[in-house]
């Protein structure tokens, strides 16, 4: 297909210093380089106002396509309107926004759900069919709420009497997760599964468990994201860390650039372009990633082989 290539793509990321987005950007850069496109990134650093400013600056600089990961999905509605008024093609990453053309995203609910199913199966085999869950969650974002909900729904398909003992706000960061989990475990330690909405959260929960002086026998820890090296290290060294719901950030970036090219050419695109996820159990991670020193490389063949769902089971719209 002799498509026209955009010369320059501008990406306003919500939080560039986070490992997840580091890897999204990595995937974007790889794909842009393959296609001969210049990619520029501006970081909103979790500041909604700065995000709008970043997009404005890109439009002033004259990029051909904008990709945006919203800090908050409601907060970019006027921005989309202004982009449309200036005929600026725009692709969203992560979350849907009123008035958008297309969005590239994983299915958060499905991700949690499949991890939940895997956790249920594991509990049946190794934990005597008991599932008492501590969710180290993040109510701040609809995406992370969907993951937690999916996880509980998934686990219940295997163990209907599974209970949610603690539903916590770990802030998505490790020290807060640790602190909150410690308090929760002190209140009630009758828990055998720790679920974290990202790797920081699951590890924070696990560290709280260890700090309380408990053995990891009979414990299962399930993380989400597979953002960097942390989960790999945990899966290699921590006996309880058995399941990781991998979300392949590099693949998300890769797909977003492809979508940007399509939108630039005015091609028809679905509203939601799904990027694949899958639970990795035990040593599965080695199929998708290899580690050398402190860098990990993605195995594109394996990842491209994971089939994305056509449609998410549940989305943010279902939460309201």
């Amino acid at each position: 297909a002799a498509e026209n290539m955009p010369k320059k793509i501008g990406y306003v990321v919500n939080y560039a210093t986070h490992e997840w987005y580091q890897n999204v950007i990595k995937g974007m850069k790889d794909r842009a380089a393959q296609l001969g496109i210049e990619l520029e990134v501006k970081d909103a650093n979790l500041d909604v106002a700065k995000q709008v400013a970043g997009a404005e600056d890109f439009m002033a600089q004259g990029v051909d396509v904008l990709i945006i990961t919203p800090v908050n999905e409601e907060g970019v509605v006027p921005l989309l309107r202004r982009a449309k008024a200036e005929n600026m093609p725009l692709v969203l990453e992560g979350n849907p926004v009123k008035g958008m053309t297309t969005m590239v995203a994983i299915c958060d609910y499905d991700t949690g759900y499949h991890a939940g199913v895997a956790a249920g199966q594991y509990a049946k085999e190794h934990l005597g069919g008991v599932a008492k869950v501590m969710n180290v969650g993040l109510p701040l974002l609809s995406a992370t709420v969907l993951r937690s909900n999916g996880f509980m729904d998934g686990i219940k398909t295997e163990i209907p009497e599974a209970t949610l003992v603690h539903d916590l706000d770990g802030g998505g960061n490790p020290d807060r997760a640790l602190e909150v989990s410690s308090a929760a475990l002190a209140q009630n330690a009758d828990v055998n599964i720790i679920y974290g909405i990202n790797d920081n959260s699951s590890l924070g929960g696990l560290q709280a468990w260890k700090a309380a002086g408990k053995s990891q026998d009979g414990l299962l820890v399930v993380g989400t994201g597979g953002e960097g090296l942390a989960f790999i290290n945990a899966m290699e060294t921590e006996p309880s860390y058995k399941i990781e719901a991998a979300m392949f950030p590099e693949k998300v970036g890769f797909t977003a650039v492809d979508a940007a090219v399509k939108v630039f050419n005015g091609e028809a695109v679905p509203e939601h372009i799904v990027s694949p996820t899958t639970p990795m159990i035990g040593a599965d991670w080695k199929k998708y990633y290899s580690v050398e020193g402190t860098t990990r490389s993605i195995n594109w063949d394996a990842v491209n082989g994971v089939k994305p769902a056509d449609k998410c089971m549940k989305t943010a719209a279902d939460l309201k």
Partner: protein
């Protein structure tokens, strides 16, 4: 004793006009701002375009508007760090009321009512009960943010009615060129600069911050002056919050996180003293613009966030240290 002795005593001569001007902090700031602009104009070919410059003005409008209030509180000898949460909180009545009534004016009235209430509470606790204002406003910063999260259940509240007037307020441009927020910021700046310089109450703010005991002896109601400063600050933060809500088209619970740091840094950079009684709105505005242009320019040069943080931090230290050195020389 002859009267001439006193004129023979080595009375300090007033410094010449030129010297006085050179000592003015604003001149140094203006030169720094021009240097920043010149640097980025040379380094990037998209920086010095009308579009980009007006963009930056529009982006600077929020810290400018809120900065007026923070500067006024600083001048009165107190501090206000609650604005970061306030800009997020006032969007809630604004959007909720607009959604319910489809009236922009009613929404703004609701926002102003909340802003006023916060200003009154801050002012009452700090000025009348005498609780340290950093503690008070740190407290309201936490309380308001927590309140926003509790009220919204940590979801943004979307604007369902999409009034055109509301959209235009933050997103439109006067004559298609100057963003409306910039126009509003300039009008407020001029009005408050006049107020501080030419109204007795403006001078009372300086006097109260410069030396509260003296101000009291001169017959001022020190508490009331400080109280009013907090109310002004909250109302200006409310206006900034309304502009932000328009740019975001919703009440976003995470809006304004860290905004108070950003504004305080700019205000201090602009020469408004933390110990009260010193500073001007012109200086404050230059402080805001310098930081905004640096941030924009580094973005234009495609410099990563981590470097932007390091460079901005370095600039703040260098600028304040330079100012201090200059003052010691003088």
């Amino acid at each position: 004793m002859p009267q001439s002795v006193s004129s023979l005593a080595a009375a300090p001569a007033g410094p010449s006009l030129l010297r006085r001007l050179a000592r003015r902090n604003e001149i140094a700031l203006l030169l720094s701002l021009l240097a920043v602009i010149a640097f980025f104009a040379l380094a990037s070919d998209t920086f010095l375009t009308t579009r980009n410059l007006t963009n930056v003005l529009g982006q600077a409008a929020l810290p400018l508007v809120a900065g007026i209030g923070v500067a006024i509180v600083f001048i009165s000898g107190e501090v206000d760090v609650s604005i970061g949460s306030l800009v997020a909180a006032i969007a809630i009545p604004l959007i909720t009321i607009m959604n319910a009534t489809e009236s922009f004016a009613l929404g703004v009235a609701g926002a102003l009512a909340l802003g006023l209430a916060v200003g009154v509470v801050n002012g009452y606790l700090a000025a009348y009960l005498g609780i340290n204002s950093l503690i008070v406003t740190l407290g309201t910063l936490f309380i308001l943010r927590g309140g926003v999260y509790l009220y919204t259940g940590q979801r943004a509240i979307p604007d369902d009615v999409m009034l055109e007037s509301f959209f235009q307020l933050g997103n439109g441009r006067l004559f298609g060129v100057v963003p409306h927020p910039a126009v509003i910021a300039v009008i407020l700046l001029i009005a408050f600069a006049y107020f501080l310089r030419h109204r007795p109450f403006g001078r009372q703010l300086y006097a109260v911050g410069g030396n509260p005991e003296v101000a009291r002896l001169a017959g001022y109601n020190v508490r009331r002056v400080k109280f009013v400063a907090f109310v002004i600050s909250a109302l200006l933060a409310t206006i900034a919050g309304i502009l932000l809500a328009s740019r975001l088209g919703s009440a976003v619970h995470v809006a304004g996180l860290g905004f108070e740091f950003q504004v305080v840094a700019a205000v201090v950079l602009g020469g408004v003293s933390l110990s009260g009684g010193v500073g001007s709105l012109a200086g404050m505005a230059l402080g805001v613009l310098i930081l905004q242009f640096v941030s924009n320019g580094l973005g234009m040069l495609n410099i990563a966030t981590e470097w932007q943080l390091v460079i901005t931090g370095g600039i703040i230290i260098a600028a304040v240290a330079f100012d201090e050195l200059k003052r010691r020389r003088a």
